[in-house]
Structure formats: C-alpha cells, structure tokens
C-alpha cells in the first residue's frame, strides 16, 4: 500500500509552495516578459487569479471524495478506462515537466556555476538526488520542506531587497503592457503558473482531516504574493528589452548586487537558495509522477517503479537537443498549456461527478 505519511496544513503548503516558486529561477519569467512586456507582473497576478478560479472545481472534487486521490476519483467517476486516460494525462504532464526541469537544472548548473562539467555527469548526479526523497517518502520531504521554508524565504526575499538601490519603478510602465485584452488572454493561459495545485489531488490520502480548499487558498495566496513580488523586483531592475533577453533573469539580478567593495559577488548565496528550491521541485514532480503511475496501475507500492521511472526521465531529458529547446518546450507545456491537465481534467471529472451524482465512500 502506498503510504504518503501524515502531515498538517503548513507542511502541505510548503511542500507545494517550492515546486510552484521554483520555476521563476529558470527562464520561465523571461517568457512571461516577452509576451507581456512591462505588465509581466500583472500577467503573473492575473494568471494566479485565473488559477484560483480553476482551483474551485478541484477543491470541490476533493471535498466530494474525501481521502481519495485524483486517480482513484477519476476511475470512480468515469470508469476504469476513461479514468485511467484522464489520470494518465495528468501523470504524463508530471513526467514531461520533470524531464524538462531536469534538463534545465543541469544546463543551468553548467551555465552559471560549473561550465567545465560534462552534461552527462551533472544530469546523472541530479537524477540520483531527485530519486532520494522518493526513497525516503513524502512525509520526510514534507517535514524538511517545513523546516527549510523560513531560510529559503529569507534567502530569496533578501536577495531581492539587496537590489533596492537599482530598482526603477518606471520600468513597470506602460501599465497595460500588450494591451488589456491581450493581457487577459495571456493571464488566462498563465494560470499554468500555479499548475502545481493539482499535486494536492495526489496528496489527499495523506491529509485525511485537511480542508483542501483552505490549504489550496493559503498556497495560492502565498504563491501569488511571492511570484508577483519576484516578477515586480526583476522588472524594476531590468527594463523589458533587457529582461526579455536573459537566460537566467534572477541569476543576473544576484550577479548585479553591489554594495561597495565588500557586499558584491554574493550570487553564490543565490545559487544555494536556487539549487535547493529547484531540486525540491524536481524531486516532488518525480515523486508524483511515480506515485501517479503506481496509482493508475493499482500497484500497492510505488518503490519498484522508482528506478525505471528515473531512467525514463533521464533518457527523455537527454533527448532534448539543447537548452534553448528545453526552455521553449517548458514555456509551451509548463508555461502555457499546463492548465489543461492540471485544472481542466479535474474540472471535467468534477462536472461528471456532479451530473452523475457520484460521491466518495466517506461522503455518502
């Protein structure tokens, strides 16, 4: 039997917060700036608002089927075949996002810190690190995430504050960026920015007494504030034509910190914070991929799948021809279309459950 462990609201929020925030440390924000110009921060904010609306059917579904995960709910509601297809779509998204993230992390480590290291060496090392939390189990990951949250927050926010002297609020104008209508459309697609909310549906068995709506709401609020704030900070340091060029916008921010002769070159702090957050995100995506596969195939344990799934993730990550391709695909799948498997599929299951009048076993 798959045991996720037991943990509370704070652990749940933190365990999902870091995968949600990790994307800003890669080239993700560059894509948002390229389409929203000076209003990129508004694009992020609108994306988060849209994600909140999408979250409502997901929360209602989890409340309707308490203690059950999305794979089981999908099969209960739509039958074993369609249910498997629907959960398969979600797990496929987890798998693709894991491979894209793995390749990007490896390339970023080469591009920023260790330019001489061969890709194969770093990507295999990261794959092994990615495996560890799944071996340890979700409960230990949740506890660790709760413990490190204050430090990661302090590190992340501190770096932004150190850039105060270089911030120019005028770079946030013109206010509406590409125009209100385009901004709204981009905001709708950028609901994907909080696509990690769907993991909540696979955490449900670990949270028997948890109110999914409350947990999701706290997560959305925290992520909205932090993601919008991070984008605001970047945009105030770099005007859109500059920010839209960057491979690693937040790394550039960290490299530009300069407070006299002593407080400079502190991007190593950024790298520590960054690497912790992105590896956390990678491990959790991998965990949910493996657990999702195990649940789809009704396996009692997910551990036997770890090795093969890790190998598959590694193989796919190496198929991407280069970093630019990985970024392009990441922006496409995780950036623009992730709302499909993350929000549309659960919403469809919820509507079907309502129409068919189906409820969970514990909610009769």
């Amino acid at each position: 039997m798959i045991r996720g462990g037991r943990f509370g609201t704070f652990e749940t929020v933190t365990v999902l917060l870091w995968p949600t925030l990790a994307k800003i440390y890669l080239s993700f924000s560059t894509g948002i700036i390229q389409e929203n110009y000076s209003a990129a921060w508004l694009g992020v904010f609108l994306g988060c608002l849209t994600a909140f609306l999408w979250f409502l059917p997901l929360a209602a579904l989890l409340k309707r089927f308490p203690g059950e995960d999305l794979a089981a709910i999908a099969e209960n509601v739509t039958g074993p075949v369609i249910g498997k297809i629907l959960s398969g779509l979600m797990v496929l998204y987890f798998l693709i996002s894991t491979t894209l993230l793995l390749r990007q992390i490896a390339e970023t480590v080469i591009g920023t810190a260790m330019p001489m290291i061969p890709l194969a060496v770093i990507i295999i090392t990261i794959t092994l690190i990615m495996l560890l939390p799944s071996v340890w189990g979700l409960e230990s990951v949740a506890r660790v995430s709760a413990l490190i949250t204050p430090y990661l927050l302090a590190g992340g926010i501190g770096l932004f504050l150190l850039q105060l002297g270089n911030m120019n609020p005028n770079y946030l104008a013109p206010l509406w960026g590409p125009g209100i209508s385009k901004l709204m459309i981009n905001g709708f697609f950028r609901a994907s920015i909080l696509s990690e909310l769907v993991f909540l549906g696979f955490l449900a068995p670990s949270l028997p007494k948890l109110n999914p709506f409350k947990t999701g709401l706290i997560l959305i609020a925290a992520a909205t504030v932090l993601l919008t704030g991070a984008m605001l900070a970047t945009q105030m340091v770099f005007p859109p034509p500059v920010a839209a060029e960057h491979t690693y916008p937040f790394y550039e921010m960290a490299r530009s910190i300069y407070f006299g002769r002593f407080y400079q070159r502190i991007e190593f702090l950024f790298i520590l914070v960054w690497i912790t957050i992105v590896l956390f995100s990678l491990s959790l995506r991998f965990y949910f991929t493996t657990v999702g596969l195990a649940r789809i195939f009704r396996m009692p344990y997910y551990q036997p799948l770890l090795g093969m799934t890790a190998l598959a993730v590694l193989a796919v990550a190496l198929i991407y021809p280069d970093y630019t391709a990985a970024v392009y695909l990441d922006n496409l799948f995780r950036g623009r279309w992730a709302w499909g498997p993350s929000f549309l599929v659960p919403a469809f299951i919820y509507l079907t459950a309502v129409v068919a009048g189906k409820r969970g076993k514990n909610n009769a």
Binding site: S38, T112, M116, N166, W176, G179, P241, V242, S256, Y258
Partner: protein, 430 residues
Amino acid sequence: MLKKGFPTLLLFVSLPILLAGCWGAKEIDEAAYAFALGIDSGPGRNLTISVLVFNPGAGIATAGITDQSLSPGRVRVFTAEAPSIFSGINIINTMLKRQIELGHLKMVVFGETLARRGIESYLDTMVRWRKFRRTIYLAVANQGTARRVIESIVPPAGTNAGKYLEMMFITQGFVGFTPRNQMLEFYNALKTKGEVPVAALVAPRVTKYDLTTEHEARIDSGRITDFNGAARDPGQSTAGNPPLSGEAPLQFLGTAVLYRGKLVQKLTGYETLAFSMLRGEFNRTYINIPDPEAPDKIIQLEISRIRRPEIKLQKQGAQIRGQVLLTVLGDLIGVESNRRYETPPKNTLLKQAVENWIKQGCYAVFHKAQTAGTDIFGFGDYARWLVPDWESWRKWDWGSSFKTMKLDLTVKVHINRPGLIIKKNAVKEE
C-alpha cells in the same frame, strides 16, 4: 545500529572532500587576473585591446606564504591588435604562462575615436559572456586612447590595481563629478528609449598641468596681474584638463553621453553634478557660490541629497511638461566675506542663492541635452506612464518630445546648521 549510521557517516566523511577544493581545476596563482580592459579602434576593422593584468607570482598568499603585496612588476599591461576582444586576449595569452581571467575585471575603457564610432556591438559580449559582470565600470578616454589610460595605471597604482580602480569609482560617487557608470545602468539605458546611456570620462594624468613651473613662476615673478585666465573653476573641465598637480594615475571628471552607443556629447564636472541631481543619483559634494551680499567673494558649502527628486510629467497636447522638485541639504563651510549668514533672514538669502545656483546649473545642462536630443535624465522613463500600452510607447517618438519639453524646476535647500560658528562677529573690538 552500524547499518543505520553508516550512510550518515559516509555522508559526513565525503562532505569535506566535496565541499572544499578547487572546482575550476585551477589554483588561484594559475591565472592572470585582468583588472582593466581598454578597447580602441585599430587599423582597418581591427581593435586595439589593452589589458591590465595582475600576474601572481610566488608572493601570493598561497600555502602558508603570507606576503600579499603586489609589486609594480606584477601588474603589467599587454596590448594586441585583433578583430575582437577575445581574439586579442587569445593572442596576449600566447605570451603568458597563465591564461587571462576576466572574472575580476573592474573597468572597461573605450578610446574616444571608437566611442564616437559606436560601442554597442562590443556590449553584446559583455552581457552574454559570463565572465563579465554588470557591475563593471565603463569609461571613455577623454581626448585619447584607452591604451594610454590603461598604461598610466601601472606605476603609481601598482600596489593593488584592482582595489585602486574600485576605490576610485566609489570615491567619485562622493565627489559628484562622475556619473553612475556601471554596466547595469548603461545597458539598461542603451536598450530603452526613455534614457540615453552615459559613462565616466577618464584621462591619464601624464599630461598634467604643471602648476609649479607655470603658475607659481609667473606669480612669483609678479608678472600675473589678471587671474581671469586661470580663474576657471576646475569643475567646469573634463578629465585631463583642469589645473591640477600631483601624482595619480587617472583622473575621472565629467560624463560621456553615448546616444545609441555613440559618443555625441561630453559634460563637464559641474554639468555632471547638475545632471546627477536631476537623476537623483547625486550623493554629496562641495560647491562654491557667489556671496549674495558680496558677489566678488565666494561662499563654500557642502551639499547633499535629502531625498530623491520628485518628478512628474504631464502631456498637454503634443507638449510635455516636466515638474521636478529637488530637495537638498546644505552645510555652510566657509564665508569668504566674513559676513554673518546665521540669522534667519540671511539664512533665507543664502538658501535662495544656493537654489539659484543649482537651478542655473540644472537648466543649463537640461538645455544642452535638449539641443543634442539626448535624454540623459531618464525623463522618458517617466513618460512611459503617459501611454496605456507597449504599442503606444513604441510608436511615440520620445526623442522629439524631449527636444520640446518644458521643465519647471523647483529647488528647496535646507541649511539647518551653521557649522561650528553660531554667530559670526558677534562681539567686535573695533
């Protein structure tokens, strides 16, 4: 127990091996660290690349050797003619046993001829290649070549050229005659149309004005009766030109305005000061103004910024009107006429005089920039708020709007403390 503890033990044993050591596979004394890079136009399409290199030897603090002094012999200049920066560095590397490492670069200087031709194409390397940082200082060699600037750093600054350069730029921030000139600001300005990029003007001090031989000889012989020729305030000069004596490798004074990456205009020290005030980047400096009650005498003050300028832009038809409020703190340093300026009415008179002095300087530099169509103040960044979306901003010819922009400048000077004299000539014996 052993089974459980073994992985932890292994982790702790392996951590010191993994965390310490040299990830780049290069020891600290196995690289030649470049502190300054000079780029000049060379023959044909070539560039002349000059590099100031710290060439560490046995004296560097490694493996228990504590002598950290960097003798002049360790700081060397290499120059090469090559089609690009890195082909130049490559060819210089053919003479060195240690490869040039750019990670500690402090300054990039462009020769004036090259700056007039345009430097934008060289900046791509500096923002793309990870060895360059956006905290590097940028300068233009005033009336000369970058090579001469780089070469002049060596003998006097030989103890630590990297620290020398960094300290020079930090110090200039409190002199007021040099603009903020790190690559971060320069590249931001270059890529936007709301502001025009600027760099510091620098000159080698080898062609220094010899006060001893020229001035004093003429004064001593009694031949000078009219000092007007020599009475120009040095702040009205650019680097390399003011009457100045003393041993120093470089002088930073004034601003190079590089519209679309091409040098189009230079600002003197005082113009730079006024421009920095309008940009809100001015920290603190000494000024002297004509005494309002005795115009042939001067009053010296230290002025500093209280808060950033408040800037508002309005669009009235096609006309842009800018309102700027500068708030400055003044500290009285000296009154040549020995008059009393500590009383409230006199204090007001003095404040007005300082306000007028600042206004005149700011308006002069504003009109100079307007004439050249170079918005070095970043007013265009404020103008972004006047349009609703990006397309409207793209279509707006801000350069033309800036040329006809009206500026309403208000300066508020607070002189709250009279220094160590509370009442001049309070008691007299004659």
